[in-house]
Structures are given as C-alpha cells and as structure tokens.
C-alpha cells in the first residue's frame, strides 16, 4: 500500500490512532433536541467559561435566534424553528379562530383555522469533534490537534490564522476571529475534562438535552432514546452523526433530531474532504507531468531559435 492509498483516519478510537498510549475513553456529546427548551443556558455558559468575546448584538428577526450559527465567537448555537406541524399526535395551539369573525373590523377575513398545531424545534448545535476531522487534517501548523479524549482542539499559541480550517469544515463550525486573526472553536472544554469536570454547556443544560460522557455509552443511550421516541409515535425522530460509517467516521458530538438535518442548518450528508485528497494528489501528479511535458514539447516542436515556425 503506497502512501497515497492510505485513508487519513485513525479509526473510532481516534486518540489511540494519534499516538496516545493509555488514552482515556473517547468523550463526546449526545444532544437530544427533543427535550431542548431553547433557554440558551449552554450558549451563555460556554461564553462565560471560555471567555469568548462579544461578537455583535444583532437583531435578526429569525424567531428567537440572534446568534445565527457557529463561529469563532459562538461555540454553542441554539436554533429555533417554528413549523405548522404537530409533534407526533399532539395538538398544540391554533384552536378555534373561526368563531370570532367580525369582532375586529380591520382584520381581513381569516380563513377558518382548525386545530392544526404548531411545533417548535430547538436544537443546540456544537462542534462535532469528527472522527475524521477535516480541520485537523488541513491545518498546516499543527495548531489543531487530537486530544487524549479524541476531541479536536486549536492551540491558540500556534495558530497563525492561515484560515484553511474554515472552508475545510463540512459543518461550518470553526472560523477566524475578527481583530484576532486566529481560528477558534469548541474545545469540548478541554480544561474542564482534564480535571474530571463535564463541559460547561452540558453542566448548565437544565433538561439534559446536552448529555456528556464516554461516546460508547452515549451511543447506546441514544439508540434507546430513539427506540423510545419511535415507540411513542414520534416517527420523525432520527439520530444524526451517530453512525461510525458516515462521511466523517461518526461525530464525537451527535444529535437526535426531529426533522431533516438541513432544517436545522446541518449538512444532510457531510463527507470529510480529505477522503478525496489521495486522488487529488495523484491527479495533481499527472497534471504537473503534463505541464512539464507540454513545455518540453513546445520547445521541441519549435526547433532552433529564429527558425521558421
């Protein structure tokens, strides 16, 4: 097997593959969005613990979401989605508008509204700490590294702000901080893990929507939860990022969602770009030979200088 044929992954126990002799079990998050209440305690706890600077107080008008997405200064992001659907068999709101017609003259005659229901999807997004992490693969300085917990962390004293990790991430997680120049993202509270504490967001979550623990255990728990949701009729429940055979070798932080991933702003089928890199290098090798060959051919074809073409 040549160097170019190898896949750049370290298996599920990513830390062991990265050279840690006695690595602790792989740690991660299971974010069960079905019990998220959208309180944003995770966002606040993360900002406080990690001393992340303020990044603009913007009113987006998008439901209750003024954070918009993950970035250099938002390592947890709570998405709010309002849908005119009921959650499984539940009837929620929107009952009996028809009777009041005519009482408010200025209101245009509304069509009769029946009990259709509305549901809120709330989900706390975070860095996925991929098994095959594109940001880590492409980092030219080694600032991004795999910790003993198999998480992916940026060393802020090494990062030179080249920005390569930003377009490499298939989830849009890591970004360059304005006025600082370096790349920043969730560390899965590497400092807290080191002293046996759970990450700040999980600690602050009042509903245990964010669960922290050894990844094996979380995967089992998620499977049970999914079966439970399906058994009570929430057929749209699904796990996202749990499968070790997916395009990034499984996420260290995975989710239970109640709709398609893209509805939450997540890519439906992310694939780590580095899987294609061996082929890219091979083709680049062919192309550079073509370049050298064409230049040589041009000179051979032209014959002696000054001669007729």
């Amino acid at each position: 097997m040549s160097l170019l044929d190898m896949r750049f992954d370290n298996g599920q126990e990513a830390a062991a593959g990265s050279g840690y002799a006695d690595a602790p079990p792989r740690m991660g998050f299971f974010t069960d969005t079905s019990v998220c209440i959208g309180c944003k305690a995770c966002e606040v706890a993360c900002k406080e613990w990690n001393q992340i600077p303020e990044d603009g107080l913007e009113f987006t008008g998008m439901s209750y979401d003024n954070t918009k997405g993950l970035g250099a200064d938002s390592w947890r992001h709570v998405a709010f989605i309002e849908q005119p659907k009921s959650l499984a068999g539940q009837i929620t709101g929107g009952v009996g508008m028809a009777a009041s017609s005519g009482s408010v003259a200025s209101v245009p005659t509304a069509p009769e509204v029946t009990a259709e229901g509305i549901r809120w999807l709330m989900s706390s997004d975070v860095c996925k700490h991929c098994t095959e992490a594109a940001c880590l693969d492409v980092c030219p300085t080694g600032a991004l590294f795999r910790t003993e917990f198999s998480t992916v962390v940026v060393q802020e004293d090494i990062c030179n702000g080249c920005g390569y990790c930003v377009p490499a991430c298939p989830y849009g997680v890591i970004d360059q901080r304005h006025g600082d120049g370096r790349a920043w993202k969730c560390t899965l509270c590497y400092d807290r893990l080191g002293v046996g504490q759970e990450p700040a967001c999980a600690k602050a979550c009042p509903t245990d929507s964010i669960q922290f623990g050894p990844l094996d255990e979380l995967r089992q728990r998620a499977d049970q939860r999914l079966a439970q949701m399906h058994s009570v009729g929430v057929g749209e429940a699904r796990l996202y990022g749990r499968d070790p055979d997916d395009g990034v070798g499984g996420d260290g932080a995975f989710f239970l969602l109640l709709d398609e991933p893209e509805v939450y702003g997540l890519p439906p089928d992310p694939v780590v770009t580095t899987r294609d890199l061996p082929k890219m290098w091979k083709l680049a090798g062919v192309a550079m030979s073509v370049l050298g060959g064409s230049i040589a051919a041009a000179f051979l074809g032209a014959g002696r200088p000054g001669g007729a073409a």
Partner: protein
C-alpha cells in the same frame, strides 16, 4: 436600548422595542422548504436560508492573486530552463525574472492573508501530506530562493554555473508549485472548489502554462518566442475547454460559476484566453511582433481572470445553502435507490 420608565404615573420615554418589526428581515426558509428563487430551482430544506458551511476566511486579491502568480512562477521557471537549454537567452531571462518576481509576490500575498503575520514561520513547523498548504509552504520555501538566484544570475551574468543549478532546481519545483494549489482549494468543503476536483489540477496547469506563455510572448524577442506561441495556443484552448467540461460535471454547482462576480470573471477569462490562444497561433505562424504581444497580454489576463473567477465561485457557493444541501441530498437519494 430603551430609555423608558414605567411608574404609577404611566410610562415615559420612548419604547423602541414596541416598534420592532419582528420578522421583517427574516430570510425565507425557516424550517420549511426554501421557495424556489427561480423556476428551475429545486426546493430544499434550510435554516432561514443561512449557509451551512462558513465563508472561507481567505481574501481577494491575496488568494486568487496567489493562485495566478504561483501558476505563472511555476510554469515560468520551467520555461526559463527550457529556453536556456535551447539557446534562447531572451526568453530565458524574461521567464526567470517573471518566475522570481511572481514567486516573491506570492509570498507577500500569502503572508498578508495570514491572521497572524508574525507567525508565518509556523508554516514550516511540520510537514503534513494531508495539508496541501503545508506541502505548498515547503515547495515555495525551496522554489522562491532557487528562482531568485536563477533570475539574478540571468540578469547580471554572474555565477553562471550556480545560476544554471538554481534554474534547474526552480524548473523541477515549478510544476508542483503551479499544480498543488488545485489540491489546496479542492481539499475543502466548498462546493465550487471541491466538486469536480478531478478537473481542477488540469485547469490549473493549463492556466499556469498559458500565463507563462503569455509572459514569454509579451517579453521575449520574436526570434525566440515561437515555442510560447505553440504553448499559449494549446494551453489557452485547453483551459477554456476544461473549464466547460468541469462546469458540466458538477450539477447545480455550475450556477456558481455563472452568477455574480464569478460569472463576470469567468466570462472575461473565456473571451481573453480563447482570443489569446487564437492570436498566439496566428502569431506563431506569422511571427508578427504586435500579434504575439497582444496574444501574450490576453493570455496573461485570461489566466488571472480564471483564477479570480474560480475563487469567487467558491466564495459564493459557500454562502448559499443550495450548493451544499442539494448535491448532498441527491447523493443520499442515489445511495437509497442503490440500497433498495
């Protein structure tokens, strides 16, 4: 912030919060399928039509400029050695100077684009084959000094043996320098850069060769620039043809190359490169100085527009969730069909 107060006498001050036009700026999407902006656009789910991936932090003109200059430098160095070896000192000199100057400008552009410029040496902290940027940093750190010595020797006539050695070194490293940038931008999650990565290295070497040929046609004496007319004609036409084939291979992402800034740049690139290639062929046959110079200028400009066009297509494809979600959905559906 509101300056109001609520007391037993009622409320005073202004209450901007009460006037808030909630939802006035809400982009379409919000959980439901995004409404098609055009008739032929597929519907897809999105989160308030926000992008899925983050916008690349790379800036123009640094990075697209570098893609162009790196190609010119790499191919120019190879042309320089070939010209020297076939007794074309004028073409050798202009190509070597071009390679050295473009190489130095490349370094300036790359360091300028860093978030922490003082830490540029961290690029050489390790060597990683999984990071085309790391590979490129090492290539450039060998190439630029070699190209510099080669050019200085060609200009001053000093140390001809060392000059030849440096020219050979630069010529060996040149094609990799001109090509690795294709892997650099393709090895991302940006749809317009990653999808169709099979074609990117060939577009890049065509663009590099047509730039180096353009420089030779523009700067070398007519008696020596005939090989550049051949090279420019072939490379220019290949660049235009490959760009077309590439666009046809990437499904909906093709639109990113046809809209906005990227669309204008790619259109200019096509016209200039195709025109330059035809003029180069004509100039090669007739040996007219003015024809060759015009061909050279057009090829150089066309190559630059190609790089800027590809760069901008990547930026715009990263900012519209359509280019991320639709191809991934199609891939999933294909997989599902195969599975059942």
């Amino acid at each position: 912030m509101s300056t109001d107060a609520v007391t037993t006498d009622g409320t005073t001050g202004i209450h901007p919060g009460r006037e808030a036009t909630v939802g006035a700026n809400v982009p379409p999407g919000g959980g439901g399928p995004r409404k098609a902006k055009r008739r032929d656009e597929p519907e897809f789910g999105s989160y308030y039509d926000l992008p899925v991936i983050n916008k690349p932090a790379w800036e123009s003109p640094d990075i697209p400029g570098y893609l162009f200059l790196g190609g010119l430098a790499g191919a120019g160095a190879a042309v320089g050695l070939a010209a020297q070896g076939t007794g074309r000192p004028g073409l050798a000199k202009v190509s070597k100077i071009g390679a050295a100057v473009a190489g130095h400008l490349s370094l300036v552009a790359l360091v300028h684009d860093l978030g922490r410029r003082g830490r540029f040496l961290n690029m050489l902290r390790m060597f990683k084959v999984t990071s085309p940027m790391s590979v490129g940093s090492w290539l450039l750190s060998g190439f630029v000094p070699a190209a510099t010595v080669s050019a200085l020797s060609a200009v001053t006539g000093a140390a001809p043996a060392l000059g030849t050695l440096a020219s050979a070194g630069a010529a060996v490293l040149g094609p990799p320098v001109a090509t690795y940038t294709a892997a650099l931008i393709s090895n991302t999650a940006v749809p317009a850069w990653h999808d169709g990565y099979e074609y990117m290295p060939f577009i890049f070497v065509s663009s590099a060769a047509s730039a180096a040929a353009g420089l030779g046609l523009l700067g070398a004496p007519v008696s020596e620039s005939t090989p550049m007319a051949f090279l420019g004609a072939v490379a220019g036409l290949s660049e235009v043809a490959l760009s077309k084939v590439h666009e046809e291979s990437i499904g909906i992402v093709k639109e990113a190359f046809h809209e906005g800034k990227a669309g204008r740049y790619m259109k200019a690139a096509e016209a200039l490169t195709a025109g330059g290639a035809v003029l180069a062929a004509a100039g090669g046959l007739t040996r007219r100085r003015s024809l060759r110079a015009a061909a050279g200028a057009m090829l150089l400009a066309g190559s630059a527009f190609t790089r800027f066009g590809i760069f901008e297509a990547g930026i715009s494809s990263a900012q519209d969730p359509k280019y991320t979600v639709v191809p991934q959905r199609e891939r999933l559906e294909k997989k599902a069909r195969k599975g059942t």
